[in-house]
């Protein structure tokens, strides 16, 4: 019993260590910048201000970046759900020449890491003159084979009797897909949607090299750009307010949808 007490105590201590950096950043964000310049230990003197957040709201950049991140993340999520559902139904239910071969090729795509394609992708978008646009930020993410894999598995698990009965009634393939089967896949759509949104929101490398124009930064890239000349910054508190502002919405969403987010992330990794 004592051993398990010890283990529990260690885990609680670790949880505190997980929280301390966040509380530190939160405290710094509530301090006057000039006071932080002289001594960051001044966070313990109890004088706090909302000035940094007021400045943040007066500065349009962060809102522009949030809007970009929302557009890109929702765009990518909608695109992935649409393409993956159609393809999943096709691979799971329909017969067409070369189907099995194509499916295996798509699955092999799962083993391709971003690094192996990103240089050539960047060149392609350069040739097309498409960098610094929403399509450039969204399109590469639509090619991820994971969604197709997930949806194919899900469609396969639905009993065939459902579509066969509808086929006898003269329903078209598309009607069966759209009216009958798609509503049954909502749990898989939720998993895939959450996973895609989270990946898109936190994606860093591709937006870093594709969106070089400040107006097209996503929030992730924007926050990176503000910490570049970090050593010279006089606005440590302001920087921290940005970190809080960028991190807090994700954490709040997480607190509300924890169950689904954990399932989506674990499901994507464990498959």
């Amino acid at each position: 019993m004592t051993r398990s007490r010890l283990a529990t105590g260690l885990v609680i201590l670790a949880a505190v260590l997980m929280l301390v950096p966040l509380l530190w950043v939160l405290a710094l964000s509530l301090k006057d910048n000039a006071e932080l310049m002289t001594d960051t230990a001044s966070v313990f003197n109890g004088r706090f201000t909302l000035e940094n957040y007021r400045n943040l709201f007066g500065n349009g950049d962060v809102f522009r970046w949030i809007a970009n991140s929302l557009i890109v993340s929702f765009g990518m999520t909608a695109g992935v759900l649409m393409l993956a559902s159609l393809a999943g139904y096709g691979f799971a239910r329909l017969e067409f020449p070369g189907r099995n071969l194509l499916f295996v090729v798509v699955l092999l795509g799962l083993a391709v890491p971003e690094q192996a394609v990103i240089i050539a992708r960047h060149q392609m978008f350069s040739w097309l003159g498409m960098h610094n646009s929403y399509p450039a930020l969204i399109l590469p993410g639509l090619s991820a084979p994971f969604g197709v894999f997930l949806m194919t598995q899900y469609f396969r698990a639905i009993p065939r009797d459902i579509d066969e009965a509808a086929l006898l009634d003269g329903a078209s393939r598309f009607t069966i897909f759209w009216k009958l089967l798609l509503p049954l896949t909502i749990p898989a759509q939720a998993t895939l949607g959450i996973f895609t949104f989270l990946s898109a929101w936190n994606d860093y490398w591709w937006p870093l090299i594709s969106a070089t124009n400040k107006d097209m930064f996503t929030l992730t890239v924007g926050i990176a750009s503000t910490q570049m000349n970090f050593a010279q910054t006089e606005g440590l508190g302001f920087l921290m307010a940005q970190a809080v502002f960028a991190g807090a919405p994700m954490l709040i969403v997480y607190l509300f949808f924890q169950k689904y987010i954990v399932q989506a992330v674990a499901g994507a990794a464990g498959r």
Partner: protein
């Protein structure tokens, strides 16, 4: 949040056509939109990247075929070799700890009580943050002059250490940051596995008066063995792709001590604009990840057989 290369085992069990389905090319229209994007955004760039790795471009963008010269150059490039060594070092610093700590957390927190749920929430929370927020937070921890650790050291009357400027400490500091960011995933993977262990095994053990330790080593650990290896391989693939943390915290320094392969690729490609050279380094990384992915595939197909 980093992405994981997943290796599906079950998917390869293609169902046998039942004979009554008609082959119809129009059915391919369902998969056509995805295949179009797949070819344009994945197959073509992959092939182009392979071709690029055998070329040398100049500033005007005209490429010249140089065969394997880029690869020969890579393996004689001290900075690249250092980047490979750094990557392995980082994987060694993070993966064993993430796996064991994830398992430990899951074992302690696999219970119904409210406090366990709260702690699980805390340990997974950092996973949803982006790399740029994570590094910003941790730079303010490691900053010698006024960072959390610096302030703590001063309060204890010690001299603050500049972790990120110290050749020996910078990579461990990045590893700590990464563990803080990534601990949630191994924990939830182990939690999911623990809930799959049949209850009656524990009931039988309780009837036999088995000690907690015996129950753990004889029942729990053997039952989640496969998840254990799966977590290791997933984390190896993930941490092999280290990029944002050093790019934002140390720029690969001091003295190249924190430059991993992916940062090398990024710098060769977008700092020196040597696309062929960067592409060659990317192929080397791809080969390494492919090997890890094959191991993962074997493991997950083993799960099917069991």
């Amino acid at each position: 949040m980093p992405s994981v290369a997943v290796e599906p085992a079950a998917a390869f069990t293609v169902p046998v056509p039942r004979g009554r389905g008609r082959q119809d090319w129009r059915s391919a229209l369902f998969v056509a939109p995805y295949l179009l994007v797949f070819v344009a955004m994945l197959v073509v760039p992959l092939a182009m990247g392979m071709w690029l790795s055998t070329t040398k471009g100049d500033l005007f963008g005209t490429e010249r075929w140089v065969g394997l010269a880029n690869f020969v150059r890579l393996f004689g490039d001290a900075i690249f070799l250092k980047a490979v060594a750094n990557t392995f070092y980082f994987v060694l610093l993070t993966v064993p700890f993430l796996t064991l700590a994830g398992l430990g957390l899951a074992l302690v927190l696999n219970r119904q009580e409210r406090w366990a749920a709260v702690l699980r929430t805390i340990f997974f929370a950092s996973t949803v943050l982006s790399v740029t927020v994570v590094t910003l937070v941790w730079r303010l921890v490691f900053l010698p002059d006024g960072g959390l650790l610096g302030v703590t050291a001063e309060a204890l009357g010690k001299t603050p250490i500049a972790f990120l400027n110290d050749e020996r400490l910078a990579m461990p500091a990045i590893a700590v940051t990464t563990i803080w960011w990534c601990i949630g995933l191994p924990m939830v993977l182990f939690l999911a596995a623990l809930q799959q262990v049949p209850r009656d095994l524990y009931e039988a053990a309780a009837l036999d008066n088995a000690s907690r330790w015996t129950t753990l080593t004889r029942i729990t650990l053997p039952a989640i063995k496969r998840t254990f290896f799966l977590v290791i391989i997933i984390e190896v693939i993930l941490q092999f792709q280290l990029f944002g943390q050093p790019q934002l915290m140390t720029l690969g320094g001091p003295n190249n001590s924190t430059r991993p392969i992916v940062l090398f690729i990024y710098e060769a490609g977008w700092r020196q604009w040597e696309l062929g050279y960067a592409a060659a380094a990317a192929q080397v990384l791809f080969a390494m990840i492919l090997i890890a992915a094959m191991v993962q595939y074997r493991l997950s197909s083993g799960k099917e057989a069991a």
